[in-house]
Amino acid sequence: MTFFFNQFVTGLASASSLFLAACGLSIIFGVSRIVNFSHGAFYMLGAYVAFTLTEYFSSEIGFWGGIVLAALIVAGIGALAEMALLRRIYAAHELLQLLLTFGVTLAVEDLVVLIWGPSDLLGRRAPGLKGAINLFGQLYPTYDLLLIALGPLTLIAVLLLLHQTRWGVLVRAATQDREMVAALGVNQQWLFTGVFALGIFLAAFGGALELPREAVSHTMDLQIITEVLVVVVIGGLGNVLGTFLAAIIVSELNVFGILIFPKISIILVFLVMALVLVVRPWGLLGRAETATRAASGLQVVRWKPLRPRDRLIVLAVIAAAALLPFFCGDYFLTVASEVLIFMLFAASLHLLASAGGLVSFGHAAYFGLGAYGAALALKQFSLPMAPGLLAGTLLGFLGAFVFGWFCVRLSGVYFAMLTLAFAQIVWSIAFQWTEVTGGDNGLIGIWPSTWAASASHFYWLTLALAAGGIALLRVILFSPFGYALRALRDSELRAEAIGLSRHRIQWLAFAAAGAFAALAGALYAFLKGSVFPDNLAIPLSIDGLAMVLLGGVGTVSGGIVGAALYKTLSIWVISHTDYSKLVIGLLIIALVSLFPQGILGALAGWRHRPLKSEAP
């Protein structure tokens, strides 16, 4: 019995540390609707800065002062980032902030290595709390007791701040109606900066408090970011108390789960999130999202199918592309094939995100299912390449068909997070089912059939399939089905009133997008000759979103352009520098700041200036 009590208390310490890391995210999320992907980066920065300060001020007061000072410094950096970067793009599509903060994360990850060096750093233990106390015959770290106290204390402080102060009232008002608060004469810009700084302060504080428990390394941000996102969503967006409950549930389930299933940790939080979202679509304590005002600038120009003259030009361009193998070497053709594959992948996500308004955080799952489907067809059933491509596409379609049914019941960020949960579940199956998928060692030897083995033949095949796929996606977009999809995006109520079934149409769109992503994935497997779990992992999903957003989510073909740009850039940068994350991160920040509507969006806006000013 005492063992279970002790294990419970151990779980509480983990829960507190998880909550401290997550609550800042929840606050920022709730107020400004920003999915702050850089939360993990600031958490990590907090730990690094606290490391430096506590090494420098070696006294007892120096330690605690260093922790708080580190959080303050990082909060200051966060406030500057908000003023310099985020403020410029509040009016744009809300996901752009995700992309921007993703760029910040990439840059910070390389920066900490440049500043603090590549080795893991061991911070000091907390003075006075180095040892353990005897709790019913078992030793228990005293520092963990401090954490257990700090969690609820922080919760109370945040709740008091939000509910008992004038500032808190204004913040909550801004949460509900930004423009109204502004109209009443409140400087909401500073309000948002303040909230962001508070959130970052809590993130950095959470990171700094880990100093006596773990090593400071440049991977801390990725270790924490998905976990805190999940906890925030399970609790209900913007509900700090919900976040607290979710942290406790997740931690306790983990602490006891590993006694029965020692391998459960890898997937536990995502299982919990999937279950919670299926049963309670807005998280434990969350409320239904009020219809937010349509983000301005979502659609700059009315979408139109290509005119006959444009079609001819596109055909000419494709024909020119088909001539490339006569002028280019193998390496260039392989890179071009990879770019084409990602154009198809991004186009499939683009259909969902722009026409459907359904932003998926887990689109890589279907890309990866396609890759694994193709690889397994080869390895398990000894099929040649062509049926392999078909098998991959089918597997991806099936996956999207099944998961899509659950996902499209939700909307907004909850939809995004459920897609993420399913993607992580698929990922962990690929990662764990070693007998079939090869686990993290993957499946190798997935090379194309002889007829497509040469770089030029494979390039032609890819070009044909990618161009065909993208053409088909456009046909879907301008078919009655595509119009229905857009109607549901723009006004669900009106669309349903004229007899469109939201669930059925979005479900089909989800499955179709999954199938095209899977085709891309299947091609990718043969291009690389191997398949690994990271073909369906979170970073690939984020890459997909980055492509769509860089190209312009409000445009017809943004995904294609974004993919070409992003993929070529990243291949080129990674080949030329070891600090590719820093370069790509800064590039993303620059592009997002310069072209909040995406590159195509900016182009279209420029070409159709009169139209833009006509818009209400």
Binding site: Q223, I266, V317, C328, G439, D440, I444, S530, V561, I574
Partner: protein
């Protein structure tokens, strides 16, 4: 319409940029391609890079190979197998390297080794530990330098068998490396000591250990000895929680790789004492080959070498030795030369076995201790990798028939 042309323009631009970026290299050089996770795992790959750069400098200062200077083109793989393949393809198809070397992670090593088989180019895997790369997924073109998982497990199991402990528990990261390390260790130890009972196991996800919970769960099974396979930040958390909660008191811990400076040094004065580990005690190795390496390394970098430095140095020397022996840059001749080639490394002379393409590089086994507020290895002895591998006559059966 403008869209597709814009796309193609950007593709073409990038290609042009990539095309013109090839610096004019002299005809008299031999180009070697090198790939590693420089951005993903700098704590290991930075010292590794210093190691091969030192060796390269020495080789070229001594006149290169057959009068030709060696030229290493190095690429980052970002920790992703797919990016490693892109890099390998660039090195082979565009830069025209005569062989590939490097890689850290097992999955990247396997991906590149399969690429090497497909393109028929020699690949010298530096660091990946998975047994599959030389055995179940071995191929003609792939060689591996570092002692495999199997060897590390065999060295540790030999020591573990001498302990009186009968009840064992295991803690390992939940991926192939951890799984096969535990499986081989269990098999080898149980074979030597049928009386041993495996009472508990924990599989925290790599990089995300909930150390307090894992420590309590292991303590509950009341083992007499513990096998640890975690490393890096996970190891730090485990050691801290384990020390505070008294898990290691009165228990022997046998631990993979913990004696490597990359993992032992960050633990500073909290380094565990008395653990039986594999590793690299850089200031306790006495053989003259190492003394020369140490002197040159410290003179060039004003820093002490990590294990990565030795691996980088040795892989470069191996590449040169293969080229010298082959007297050709033809892939098939290089492979023939690499089979059985002998190389002088800081750990002494090693050989790449013909049967499974595994080098006989070994590792140091010893116990951890605290000295001047730092973790060190004591009671150190070098274990020749060749002695812990199955005999060459047996390993052929482990490899796929070609």
């Amino acid at each position: 319409m403008k869209i597709v042309s814009a796309v193609l323009a950007s593709v073409t631009l990038a290609a042009a940029a990539a095309g013109v970026s090839i610096p004019a290299r002299a005809q008299e050089t031999i180009k070697i391609g090198e790939i590693n996770s420089y951005s993903g795992l700098p704590s290991f790959t930075e010292p590794y890079r210093k190691g091969w750069q030192l060796a390269l400098e020495e080789i070229n200062a001594a006149g290169g190979v057959d009068g030709k200077k060696l030229d290493v083109i190095s690429k980052d793989d970002g920790g992703k197998p797919a990016d490693a393949i892109t890099a390998a393809n660039e090195l082979v198809s565009k830069d025209g390297v005569v062989m590939l070397m490097g890689t850290f992670f097992s999955n990247i090593g396997l991906a590149v080794s399969d690429f090497a088989k497909q393109k028929k180019i020699l690949f010298l895997a530096a660091e990946p530990l998975t047994d599959a790369i030389t055995w179940s997924k071995g191929n003609r073109y792939t060689f591996r330098l570092r002692p495999a998982n199997y060897e590390q497990a065999a060295m540790l199991a030999e020591e573990a068998a001498k302990l009186p402990a009968k009840k064992w528990a295991t803690i390992a990261p939940n991926y192939e490396y951890g799984q096969s390390a535990v499986a081989v260790f269990k098999k080898l130890l149980s074979a030597k000591r049928p009386d041993i009972e495996w009472v508990g196991e924990q599989w925290p996800p790599q990089g995300k250990i909930d150390a307090g919970a894992v420590v309590e769960a292991i303590a509950k099974t009341e083992p007499e000895a513990i096998l640890n396979v975690t490393f890096g930040p996970d190891l730090v958390k485990l050691v801290r929680e384990g020390n505070t909660r008294g898990l290691f008191k009165g228990r022997v811990v046998v631990s993979f790789l913990t004696g490597e400076p990359e993992y032992l040094d960050p633990l500073k004065d909290e380094a565990p004492e008395g653990w039986i580990v594999t590793g690299y005690p850089w200031n306790a190795v006495t053989i003259p080959e190492h003394a020369a390496f140490l002197k040159a390394y410290q003179a060039k970098y004003n820093d002490y070498p990590r294990l990565g430095s030795v691996v980088g140095y040795s892989v470069m020397k191996s590449a040169a030795a293969i080229l010298v022996k082959a007297k050709s840059t033809d892939s098939e001749k290089l492979v023939d030369a690499a089979e059985g080639v002998s190389v002088d490394t800081p750990f002494g002379k090693i050989t790449f076995r013909k049967a499974d393409h595994q080098s006989t590089l070994g590792a140091f086994v010893g116990r951890t201790a605290l000295k001047d507020g730092k973790g060190v290895m004591v009671d150190v002895s070098y274990r020749d990798g060749g002695k812990y591998l199955p005999p060459e006559s047996e390993v052929a059966a482990l490899r796929p028939q070609e």
